[in-house]
């Protein structure tokens, strides 16, 4: 009869006869159940009555025959499974797994039925006696009798392993079958995965390990580094797929580890060092994809990235060192710096595209840059020179955003410089030149740079630089005031005078090597002086004649020209208004220009390109009239240091000799009306360089002392090493002080009784108010 569609079922109610106290009852009942279970095992259960079997099982347990039932069941299943094991082990190779699988499936179905029939026993007898439930019992029995049967266990393992191996070699295998068998092993562990792990996973891992060990050996000998990595990627992907296809997910990390160890960890060094295709050559050739692949692979294993990082970092150091120490490149600040910037760009690009901006890598590459930039003591100067060049001419026709980008890049390198105070010195000098000679192209760009420095190093760092800008602005106001003042006096001056009033301390100070200015200029200067002092009482004006520029009109026999010269050159040229021929000594005496500067300027004037003066050849002519003079002034001056960059035209060997005689070159010819006499360009001489150094060192002394006093004032007492480390910390943003020097400063402060050594412990200092 079929069940009716509405799901109703009929119920037949048989009157119970009550439970019989029959002595034969257990035996008889078990016999009945046993017959039924046989039928179940033969997959022939459809004619059995669940109700009847359940009732019998129920009555057995109710009448305390649970143990008999349980043990008999165990014996019966045991016997049955032994027969199953025999059939399975007798099956031929191809059918072996199939046979095992089908007997497993049958066993499972049978056990589920038996469990259902005996569910009352499971709930009561089994629970009370802490036995394994009927189904679990079935699993244990299957494990012991079938899966661990001596004729099956090893054969099963070998079959499975050889199938995996076949798949690794590219053959197609029955994944579903393996999956089922693997699932069987997992199930047989009951509540753990022990059976799966012991019987299959461990041997599989061993096998995998040896497989990839062998494979990686052959691969690494035949493939280049990128090829090897590509193959490894494929292998790893395949293994992961294997897990998802037929292994337990808990095996994934273990399998991965084994593969990664064999394929990556064991060969990292070889891969990195591989000639012509290893890490170094990837870096050289910008192989972004390969580097990315390497990063991905190496990030899987411990220490992989560290190794990669170290190699990259030392390579960068080496390359950077090459640039920094390269005599050729260091000669030209522009190319020197450009190559550093290019290097930086290259590695930034690398970090972003191949290394996922990994913090570790960013840090180590930065450290490498820091290392080699500071190797060359001239780096701070070169940075400043580079900026100087950019701001003078390098940024023409470039949009504001691009300027910003360039400046940011420069700043990135600047950040790595330890001796920021040295940079400041040079920057100040260069900025002064730009401002005074009007060389800067864009005021905005200048201010932008200052603002960036300010955010980078703080207010202190830029306050003087900003002061320079203020001076420039104030000077403009002063000059317009001066002009109205002159007009009001109704007394025209012979020349236009333009003065920049510079505050001492803000500007790189120069020694006031005063020269004897011509009369007409002196007149103007006096006029300005009296105007300025009337407005600003009590100030002292000093003329910085070495920083000025002038435009003079020169009437040559052929043509008249306008000459753009420095103040010194103007003074020299004006002498030739009165005399046509002068010896070096005469010039020196009449002008009072220091010998070194005089030589430089004469060199510029006798330069074959613009030969305004002739050496030794006597000649006459022409009058000159000064038009504009720019003189600079400041109120004090200490030690000089001047360096300038820009186009240096190498003069043909000849240097000015003190016995030389100079004359006005009447044959001077030029296509241009305005002739610019090349500025006196000279690299910082070693002496000057040393002076700058000394000055920086002197400054540092004061800064270290100030820092010590600040710290001690706050702490009152402090241990020596703590004090030193705090001082270093405080000054880090400007330079890195040498502990030995710090110690000297401390001693000096003790001598001057700012500090004293503690009486209990010589290593502790006390602050003396």
């Amino acid at each position: 009869m079929m069940a009716k569609p509405n799901g109703k079922i009929q119920f037949k109610n048989l009157q119970s006869h009550g439970v019989l106290a029959d002595p034969d009852f257990p035996k008889r009942t078990w016999k009945l159940l046993k017959t039924a279970m046989r039928q179940i095992h033969q997959q022939n259960a459809s004619n059995l009555s669940f109700e009847e079997l359940y009732r019998n099982g129920y009555n057995m347990v109710l009448q305390k025959h649970g143990d008999l039932l349980y043990n008999n069941l165990k014996k019966m299943v045991d016997k049955h499974l032994k027969a199953v094991a025999k059939t399975v082990s007798e099956s031929i190779d191809e059918k072996f797994l199939l046979e095992l699988n089908s007997s497993w499936i049958n066993h499972k179905t049978s056990m589920l039925m038996i469990r259902d029939i005996l569910m009352y026993m499971d709930r009561n007898y089994v629970k009370q006696n802490n036995l394994s439930s009927v189904f679990d019992l079935g699993l244990y029995l299957f494990r012991d009798n079938v899966a661990h049967c001596s004729t099956i266990k090893d054969r099963l393992l070998n079959t499975l392993l050889s199938m995996v191996q076949k798949e690794r070699e590219g053959e197609v295998i029955d994944r579903i079958l393996i999956k089922n068998i693997v699932q069987m092993l997992i199930d047989l562990g009951v509540n753990s995965k022990n059976v799966y792990i012991e019987d299959f996973e461990k041997p599989l891992l061993l096998k995998t390990s040896s497989h990839y060990q062998a494979q990686s050996q052959t691969l690494i000998q035949t493939c280049s580094c990128p090829d090897y990595m590509k193959k490894v990627e494929i292998c790893l992907k395949e293994e992961l797929e294997r897990v998802s296809h037929y292994l337990d997910s808990s095996s994934e990390p273990k399998l991965k580890e084994v593969c990664e160890k064999q394929l990556i960890s064991n060969h990292m060094r070889t891969l990195i060092d591989m000639e012509n295709s290893g890490l170094i050559s990837m870096l050289k050739d910008d192989k972004i994809e390969d580097l990315k692949r390497m990063y991905n692979l190496f990030s899987r294993v411990s220490d992989g990235l560290n190794l990669m990082k170290d190699v990259i970092s030392s390579y960068v150091k080496e390359i950077g060192r090459g640039i920094v120490m390269d005599e050729e490149k260091t000669k030209e600040s522009g190319t020197y710096f450009q190559s550093l910037l290019d290097l930086k760009d290259k590695y930034d690009n690398l970090l972003q595209n191949a290394l996922y901006n990994d913090k570790q890598f960013i840090h180590s590459i930065q450290q490498a840059f820091e290392y080699f930039i500071n190797l060359n003591p001239k780096s701070p100067e070169y940075i400043s020179l580079f900026i100087d060049e950019k701001l003078k001419k390098g940024l023409k026709g470039v949009s504001e955003e691009e300027v910003d980008i360039i400046l940011d890049k420069i700043l990135m390198l600047f950040r790595l410089i330890q001796e920021k105070d040295v940079f400041e010195k040079y920057y100040k000098q260069h900025l002064a030149k730009r401002l005074l000679l009007g060389r800067s192209i864009s005021d905005d760009a200048e201010r932008n740079m200052i603002a960036k420095l300010k955010t980078e190093c703080g207010y202190q760092f830029t306050s003087k630089l900003e002061g320079m800008f203020t001076d420039m602005r104030l000077s403009q106001d002063t000059m317009s005031g001066f002009k109205t003042y002159i007009q009001n006096l109704k007394k025209a001056l012979p020349i236009d005078l333009n003065v920049h009033v510079l505050t001492t301390g803000f500007w790189p100070t120069q020694n006031t090597a005063n020269c004897n200015l011509p009369r007409e200029i002196l007149l103007c200067c006096e006029a300005f002086k009296s105007y300025y002092l009337s407005n600003h009482n009590g100030r002292l004006l000093l003329w910085q004649t070495n920083m000025g520029t002038a435009e003079i009109k020169a009437n040559f026999p052929s043509k008249s020209h306008e000459l753009q010269v420095s103040s010194y050159q103007m003074v020299i040229l004006l002498l030739f208004n009165d005399q046509s021929k002068l010896t070096f000594k005469e010039i020196a005496d009449q002008t009072g220009i220091p010998t070194i500067d005089l030589k430089r300027n004469l060199l510029a004037l006798t330069n074959p390109k613009n030969k305004i003066l002739d050496r030794e050849l006597p000649s006459t002519t022409s009058s000159t009239t000064t038009t504009t003079t720019t003189a600079t002034s400041s109120s004090t001056s200490t030690s000089p240091s001047s360096s300038s960059s820009s186009i240096s035209t190498p003069t043909p060997s000849k240097s000015i000799d003190e016995s030389d005689v100079f004359a006005f070159n009447t044959k001077f010819k030029s296509k241009l009306f305005r002739v610019k006499v090349m500025a006196v360009v000279q690299k910082e001489t070693p002496v000057e360089e040393k002076e700058t150094r000394d000055k920086v060192d002197e400054d540092r002394k004061h800064q270290i002392e100030a820092s010590i006093v600040r710290i001690m004032k706050a702490r009152k007492t402090l241990e020596h090493s703590n004090l030193v480390s705090e001082v270093i910390k405080q000054l880090q943003s400007r330079f890195v002080p040498n502990p030995v020097i710090v110690k000297k400063r401390i001693e000096s402060l003790i001598e001057r009784e700012y500090l004293e050594r503690s009486k209990q412990d010589r290593k502790i200092y006390n602050y003396m108010a």
Binding site: M1, I9, F50, N124
Partner: protein, 141 residues
Amino acid sequence: EEIIELINQRNNCLNNSNKIKNDETNRIDYFYTHKFVLSARSPVFMKMLSCQMMESNSVIITSHFPRSIFYILLKFLYSGKVEMNATNVLEVLAIADYYQLEDLKDFCGKYSLQTCIDGELDICRVLYASEQYGLEKIKQL
């Protein structure tokens, strides 16, 4: 309420479909019920009706319990209510145990204890039954 009514209607059916076998003592009664109700309430019925044996293919399943007791069980399965007295409480307990209805077993246990206190039931019988059917709470008392 609706469920109770349903059962009342079924009662008519039940009465109409009673059958008597030729053997005088083996009178057969038929109840019409729903598979899913039985399965949902009793694990034994659930297995019985889903297990690939005779019952899952058939529309008739049998029970050896007396008609009156089985009727109480059915009513309980459908409505969650149970009508008992001192005379049949232990029989209801037996059927509850057979079909593994733990809540009904607990209730029977409490009820039988109450009837003992009222003096309507022999305490020894109650104890024997609770021992047999594994009513731990009553045994402890």
